[in-house]
């Protein structure tokens, strides 16, 4: 019996230890996905200036995090949610998990990023999902680098492309959306052709990039991978040349924009507002590129050298409105699965 008593007291201790401590600086909790990163110095500078303590809760990928936020909207886990992107934005807005906040910093942000006019979700960063290629492979085989989505269906590129499943990966979903934007309802015909040309589909970005892509350290078999326009900046060889580059032809890339929002029911509205202002400000915006390989939405933020030298931005990324995506996403994914995987 003694053991049982001990154990129950341990349980009690456990649960009492978890209740939030009220004293000291105000705690601001930010729910986000696993790939979120920020530098120590930036966080400390906000904490110091506002007598605040910031706690990050990471809870799976962007989809999983949004899901959890929707499930707990009556008793929110956090004050802010960062990491909803334009492919999931409508879902978050429909579920009404955010409170509006018209940050003064929004005046510095280009209109093209402000997809929610009611300012419930505010843009923070963007990245372009593009095809990366292995420079060496194309040079060695005297092969021209494909320039458009249509090129990829040509026989000389048979079996050379690896991509992520749109059903399980946001990167794959973005690439599929690029083809929807380019071909409209006929996008399934395109995919039928791409399937016949031996496109390789894997579950997620990590596998595609590190296991299948021939120019990554995983040394895989495919010299073309669906990744990000910023990825080449991480593949710079000692001689100062990037081993990879992105295909930037018109309509080949899809722009992902990530948003932050104040969760309904927060007890720290004022502090949450301050943090959003801070995220849109120069210090945070300049920190993001090397932390998360994304671009700042604030044009006054200076880019690091690695980005200006090796990362490229497409001049004409494919575009679809969040409403259109929300209305058709499931159906598109189903159609894609039917054509490519069945």
């Amino acid at each position: 019996m003694k053991h049982i008593t001990l154990l129950f007291s341990y349980f009690l201790f456990l649960f009492s230890a978890c209740s939030p401590a009220p004293a000291g600086p105000q705690t601001l909790t930010i729910l986000t996905h696993d790939s979120f990163a920020v530098s120590e110095e930036v966080v400390r500078s906000f904490e110091g200036a506002n007598n605040a303590k910031i706690v990050f809760l990471q809870s799976g990928d962007a989809g999983a995090v949004l899901n959890k936020a929707i499930l707990t909207r009556d008793a929110p886990l956090a004050d802010l949610l960062f990491g909803v992107d334009n492919t999931f934005l409508s879902r978050a807005l429909e579920a009404a998990i955010f409170e509006s906040y018209a940050s003064a910093e929004l005046k510095n942000i280009p209109e093209e990023f402000k997809l929610d006019t009611a300012n419930r979700a505010l843009p923070v960063d963007y990245g372009d999902v593009c095809i990366n290629y292995d420079k060496k492979y194309f040079a060695e085989n005297n092969l021209l680098v494909p320039q458009s989505l249509d090129d990829l269906t040509k026989p000389e590129y048979a079996g050379l492309l690896v991509m992520e499943n749109p059903a399980t990966s946001s990167t794959g979903l973005a690439f599929m959306l690029a083809t929807v934007a380019r071909f409209g309802d006929a996008f399934t015909d395109y995919w039928r052709a791409l399937k016949e040309n031996g496109v390789v589909v894997v579950d997620g970005w990590e596998t595609a990039y590190f296991t299948n892509f021939s120019a990554s350290s995983g040394r895989g078999s495919q010299p073309l991978v669906v990744s990000y326009a910023s990825s080449p900046s991480a593949e710079v060889s000692p001689s100062g040349e990037s081993l990879t580059a992105s295909i930037l032809g018109p309509d080949t890339c899809f722009r992902q924009i990530e948003f932050v929002g104040i969760l309904k029911g927060t007890q720290h509205r004022a502090l949450a507002e301050k943090f959003i202002d801070f995220m849109l400000g120069k210090q945070f915006q300049e920190d993001m590129p090397l932390q998360m390989f994304v671009y700042p939405v604030n044009p006054s933020a200076a880019l690091p050298d690695a980005f200006t030298h090796y990362a490229q931005t497409p001049s004409q990324p494919a575009n679809l409105s969040p409403d259109e995506i929300a209305a058709n996403r499931d159906e598109w994914i189903r159609a894609w699965t039917e054509v490519v995987l069945k």
């Binding site: 049982i4 990163a37 579950d203």
Partner: protein, 583 residues
Amino acid sequence: MDPGVDGSCVEVEMETGKQGNKETRRQGILGSLSTYIPVSLYTSRTLLWLLPISYLAILFFFPLSKILSLTFNLETLTTENLRTTYHVLRFTVYQAALSTLLTLILGLPSAVLFARYDFRGKPILRALTAVPFMLPTVIVAAAFNALLGSQGLLNSIFPLTSFPFTGTLFAILVAHVFYNTTIIIRIVGAALSNLDPKLEHAARSLGADSFRVWWNVTLPLLRPFILAATLLVFLFDFTSFGVVLLLGGSQFSTLEVEIYFQAVRQLNLPLAALLAVIQLVCTLTVSMIYSRLVSRTAMQLTPRSSLIKPKTLKQKFFVTALCLLLTAFFALPLSSLPIRSLFRLEADRGQRGDVRYGFTTDYYTELFVNRRDSVFYVPPIQAAVNSLSYASATVILSLIFGFPAAFALAKPTRLDKILDPLIMLPLGSSTVMLGLGFIITYGKWLTSPLLVPFAHTLIALPFVIRALQPAIAAIPERLRQAASSLDASPFEVWKNIDFPILRRATLAAAAFAFTISLGEFGATLLISRPEYPTIPVAIERFLSQPGGLNYGQAMAMASILMAVTVISILLIEKFRLPNAGEL
């Protein structure tokens, strides 16, 4: 099975045993049920169950039923949904059955090898077979790719032998065997080392050839253990997620993958709930079949030390061939991780096609540098310490919760038989749905690092109970009876009778709990706060960003995880508790 032979073998055991008890096996069980169990055991049954059941109720049944009742909806029972479900279920069962069969084919001979034979390098080889159990799937894919891929080791030695590892049913099956062979080796091997070799000697002296000895004596004795191990392997394959998702690629979908897809991607919780319920029903059915099969057989065992060095040509061939096979299957892919963590494979693009292989310790030294000043930087030592602390706590917790349940199940009453299949449910339930259940039930508590070992214990518990239960059932009741009649306290009986016999099973159970925790099962159940990162968390962080340095550091972290596991398992196996003795 020929009942005559079966009966005579058991008689042989009893005669060669010290007590000379002439009961046949089945009578032995009935007898021990009716006469030997002290009355106090019946009354303390509630007590035995109190701990494990209250634990499961709090951390499993309550959150899971809460999310299911919230999301389950009969309107999802449309013909289209049912058709999809049927296809997914069919593939799930198919791949699980095939994987389990292949795992048994490799696992059973390996269990014999490790339980019976003494050879050089045995502890290391056995520890290596347990390593995959805790490696993240991405790392396993990387390991096989480094060996088999088009730029892999095999292809550079024998050109044109490369084949893609990911994206095939073959990859799923190989990975399942790779992950789960250790389950068979541990559970069946532990039983086999407790088996009295005199039984086999006696049968052989009565003229049985080695096949008949194996088929008629050894196999029936091992049956409950083989069934327990098979059940665990099957359920693991049945609910396989990462392997199917990452290695099988997108054309394959198991129930668990489909639940994840519906719940996390489509946000279609009602359909996810329906699939989760179907998965639970299947798990329950399989577990009920198991407990029915296993309750019909139990064999009393006494521990023996029975290691032999291979002597005959046949034995030498068996040991050598199997060692080579296991080395090729486990050691080769695993060795590619430390190799990749120490060698840079940078092609210098100035000269075409010239790949520079260089030895480097950069990836390890870089682990200690917070180059980007990230808030989420994981110091490697701290990650290892966190992983080891969680794992040790999981071992303690799962033994505390597992022992009482295993004791109750070893001599089951009707109540126990009802509770028995419930124990297995955490293993067969969807972690995605359970994780969502946790969130709506416990909300902010989920960020406490103290909860991590409790979550890991949820998965470890079925393993611990299944590893212990057949061994406890095998304790000769006459020994406990004799001890009790000599006024030994229940604790003394446990210390002097039960424990020495259970030592091997306990170590197997502890090793399971340890590796399960190291492998970070159940991480999806909790919302993580980054203060206490573990090694698998660190690996994922490196792999989520491009670049050779990140890849190298992930390999270095994976190598550290491997080293930590191998050393821990060697230590667990060396572990001798006081008074355990060497019977």
